[in-house]
Amino acid sequence: MRNTTISRIREKDLNKVITWKSNQRLSDQIMARKKHLNLNEAKMWLKTNERDKNQVIKGIYQEEFNKLFFVGIVRLMFIDFKAKTTELGIYIGEEDYHNKGVGSNALRLIINHAFQNLNLNKIYLKVANTNEKAIKLYLNNNFKIEGILSEHYFNLTTNAYEDIYHMSLFKKSYII
């Protein structure tokens, strides 16, 4: 799928964020705890994250039929401008857009932003061992596994412990 962009999350899209954050399965997939936000809390959540100088938060938008659909969120967190590192978080909240290459497009866009615009040197992330598609996507983009934290996340959907992979990508290993 083409025509994926990442840009500022529009206030009118926050209802989708509220839905995604309250979805247990999606929350477990990205190892975040389910949250029930109202619209004001969601606005505050966005404002706080956008104001954070050590973070970039963007919406993932997919263009179809000349319309932009808000389908997910991508974040660079804990940006350390001295060590030039950041933690990446990415998810496609709209299930209809899973397995269509949207995540892959968004990943490349945010990597380019981190390395070229922000001049960072290392992007790292954490992913559950059960999220095989995501791990494959990261490996295909030259991320390497730096460690495996065993039985580190308790998945409330499956009622089981999962291992967490620590993965990272250095600028020198990334082929644009």
């Binding site: 705890r33 350390d80 001295k82 060590a83 590192t85 040197n121 290392k122 790292y124 730096e146 460690g147 495996i148 934290l149 065993s150 039985e151 580190h152 996340y153 308790f154 409330l156 412990y161 620590h166 990272s168 250095f170």
Partner: protein
Amino acid sequence: MKNNQYIILGQSVFCIDKIKLVAVNYSHILQIKKWRNEQIKFLRQKTLITDKDQIEYYNQVIKPSFLDTKPKQILFSIIEDNYLIGYCGLVHIDWFSRNAELSFLLETKLYSDQDQYFEKFSSFLKMIQQIAKNIGLHKIYTYGYDVSCYRFKPLISQKFTKEANLVDHVLVDNKLTNVLIYSKII
């Protein structure tokens, strides 16, 4: 000096040999602040802490957590012969996954004597593991900068496993440095 108590722990003092852990006490926080500032390059702390910051942190974060049945952190002063030698604790406690990060800081001068460091760290490490077990945690882990291997010896001797080596992850003394994660299922 009256000891504080974390309601979740049911006791206020833990002892092994000469080393005692007590819930972090107000009278210790400025000394701890001084050590944190002296050792800032080894901590995630980005700026120097002021007295006011530290007092506010005690009143707004630490003190209320004594009464919390699921606190996000449990912090102890480490005492040897009635003398404060550091602090340690379980932080970022995840009550769903039942894990926590072990955080610790010893008096700055103790780092120059490797044997003393090993002995004191080993004592409080044993107690912290027991405390973690008592409150139902499944795993504890700790992050450390890969600057000197003796710092990890007490962990290795108590069967902690190196689970990750995060390459060139932080800047210490203007040099990119690896971060190691040691963990143990308890």
